[in-house]
């Protein structure tokens, strides 16, 4: 498993820490709001996996694309998605990014290169190939990154999309967050290989497994894969070993059903925020500055979302056709 090797600038590390903290606090807020009955529909939080979102998106340009999953708040935020409109979407407000019709599982902010959370597992990968094809035809050097989980790597969509990207040398990075479980089914049961990155060999593409709790390692691997794509050399597959600290959704507990307390505690010690704080030897003052800045953003988002109106019923019949 690759770990960070080169010296990243402290500024970059602090930026990624800030992004991780922003994701953590947004999702804690979303989870609290869900429990308080303020969220319309389901919420799948990615708490524990923030290093993946922050590390990948730090390696991207603003005009690069990301496509994400039902567990996509983190990727969305790391790509620059606006928090107030995102929280409003979760709360069923008409000011939401998707005018309250997509909800948590379909967050998108196309103006920021965020081409959507896609809730059908695996479906985003052929679409990412298509966006990569558009980028190749346009020749502006843009790259598309598609996030997916260990579960989706067993879906035909992954394999069809990898093959298309490989034969056409499309600028697409496949980023697999192996959080060890597809809902309750363990990857070691459902997946034919220990390291999902090995599957890149079937498509003659580079593959790398990284420590998904280490934002620096994720960033470095992503930089390399993105540069590879931008040079016209085709897709890469990065697998990040990671863990969600919450259940799949609100239907299952943190541990005790399909995950043991010991396993959960082991991963919890490697919380990506703590790992990053240690790497940076972060001072209490620095931590406080990050926390205060993020709290201000969260407060602004809450005020906007709570004060936004619900949609009129007529909105249900809008946006069907262009």
């Amino acid at each position: 498993m690759a770990r960070a090797t080169s010296r990243l600038t402290r500024k970059r590390m602090h930026e990624m820490y800030r992004a991780m903290l922003r994701i953590r606090r947004f999702e804690e807020t979303a989870d609290d709001f869900y429990m308080a009955g303020k969220v319309v529909g389901g919420v799948h939080v990615s708490i524990g996996q923030e290093a993946c979102s922050a590390g990948v998106c730090a390696a991207l340009r603003e005009d690069d694309a990301v496509l994400t999953t039902h567990r996509g708040h983190g990727h969305s935020i790391a790509k620059g998605t606006r928090l107030p409109e995102m929280l409003a979407e979760l709360m069923g407000k008409v000011t939401g990014l998707c005018r309250s019709k997509g909800g948590s599982m379909h967050i998108a902010d196309v103006s920021k290169g965020h081409y959507g959370a896609h809730s059908i597992v695996g479906a985003n990968m052929p679409m990412a190939a298509g966006i990569g094809l558009a980028y190749q035809l346009e020749g502006k050097g843009q790259v598309a990154v598609v996030f997916f989980g260990d579960g989706a790597s067993n879906n035909g969509a992954f394999h069809e999309a990898m093959n298309l990207c490989a034969i056409w040398k499309l600028p697409v990075v496949f980023f697999c967050e192996n959080n060890q479980y597809a809902v309750s089914v363990p990857a070691e049961y459902s997946t034919s290989v220990d390291d999902i990155s090995v599957r890149s060999k079937g498509y003659d593409a580079p593959g790398l497994t990284v420590d998904g709790m280490d934002v620096a390692a994720v960033y470095e691997a992503s930089q390399e894969a993105v540069a590879h794509a931008r040079r016209g050399l085709g897709p890469s597959l990065i697998e990040a070993k990671t863990y969600r600290f919450f259940g799949h959704s609100r239907g299952d507990p943190h541990y005790g059903m399909y995950r043991t307390k010991e396993e959960w505690e082991g991963w919890k010690e490697r919380d990506p925020l703590i790992v990053c704080e240690k790497m940076l030897k972060m001072t209490a003052k620095q931590k406080k500055a990050h926390a205060e800045a993020v709290e201000a953003e969260i407060k602004e988002a809450i005020e906007f979302a709570e004060n936004s109106p619900e949609p009129e019923e007529s909105v249900a019949l809008e946006d069907i056709f262009a």
Partner: protein
């Protein structure tokens, strides 16, 4: 006006639209060397980047079409056989049809899925289906099905320019037809959602879908010899559906038969029949007749296939029944 076959008309539309807009590209299995002839000359003229053979992966390349459309291109994906759309239903039904809506109008998906369909060539149950009714069920999709050369060209050009996902249904027996029809040159477009009256008559209305239009026109011709004048209507666009033109005809004739190649149950005819009775129930003098594939998979054996599918004879019988006359 030049005369073209159905295949030549489709081919001309593709040439013209690809020349007009460089964002238009075509991909699918065997499109560069297209043994159906619809894509003839495109690869040589526009290159393999824009006329792109794909591996056999309907989910993959249809999904890629959706992605390219999201990013501002106008892809035409060629599904080769309507039966193969089963592999592509996620990108069509869950993604193309719904992304604009789910994303609150942030983007649109201007993709055309060209879908050769139909039986009659003894290809059997998995290479001969007509599944157009499935797609009519999905909000966010437009469904077109031209029955003749001028509509084939005009509707395909309109479909490519439309900002929404369009299921563009063709029929392999129409590919095989050598008869030519007058097709306007150049920028000939046919509006979506407008039915066409292919033959005027006052005794009964026949609504014919796609390839079945041929059987409907033959039936109308035969019945005219008996003094029964049928009005034959081609919806051309199944979604949106031009209910007005159909009901205007039924107001005049008070009798209607709907003919499609898809299976009877919950078919196109069921939808049109419901729309007619909702709008002009008081004008109807007889139950609406439906001619469709029998509720069996399409068999290979010629005699059995013919038994299952609609035919001119079945249309004639249905019209006679609605008029209460015997042969």
């Amino acid at each position: 006006m030049p005369e073209l076959t159905y295949v030549e008309a489709l081919n001309e539309a593709l040439h013209e639209e690809m020349a007009r807009d460089e964002k238009v590209f075509l991909m699918g299995e065997d499109v560069a060397f297209d043994y159906f002839g619809v894509c003839s000359g495109l690869a040589d003229r526009f290159g393999r980047d824009r006329v792109r053979d794909t591996p056999i992966c309907e989910l993959g390349f249809t999904g890629a079409g959706v992605g390219a459309a999201m990013a501002g291109f106008r892809p035409i994906v060629d599904l080769r056989f309507m039966d193969f759309t089963t592999y592509a239903l996620d990108p069509i039904v869950n993604q193309a049809a719904k992304l604009r809506y789910m994303l609150g109008g942030q983007l649109s998906v201007p993709m055309v899925a060209r879908i050769p369909s139909g039986a009659g060539l003894q290809y059997g149950a998995t290479h001969g289906q007509s599944l157009e009714a499935w797609f009519m069920q999905v909000p966010g999709l437009k469904v077109l099905y031209p029955s003749c050369a001028p509509d084939a060209k005009g509707l395909l050009k309109t479909a490519v320019r439309d900002d929404n996902p369009v299921m563009f249904i063709e029929h392999r027996l129409l590919y095989a037809q050598k008869t030519k029809q007058a097709v306007p040159e150049g920028d000939h477009t046919t509006p979506i959602g407008v039915a066409d009256v292919k033959r005027a008559g006052a005794d009964a209305t026949i609504v014919g879908i796609g390839y079945q239009m041929g059987h409907c026109l033959e039936a109308a011709e035969a019945l005219a010899g008996e003094g029964i004048e049928c009005e034959v209507i081609d919806p051309r666009s199944l979604s949106p559906l031009d209910v007005e033109t159909i009901t205007a005809s039924v107001r005049k004739t008070s009798r209607c038969v709907i003919v499609e190649e898809g299976h009877l149950r919950s078919g196109v005819g069921a939808e049109i029949s419901a729309a007619i009775q909702e709008a002009v129930f008081e004008y109807l003098d007889a139950p609406i007749g439906r001619v469709a594939a029998l509720m069996a998979p399409i068999p290979v054996q010629t005699k059995l296939e013919k038994f299952v599918l609609p035919s001119t004879e079945k249309v004639i019988a249905a019209v006679r029944k609605t008029l209460g006359v015997s042969a």
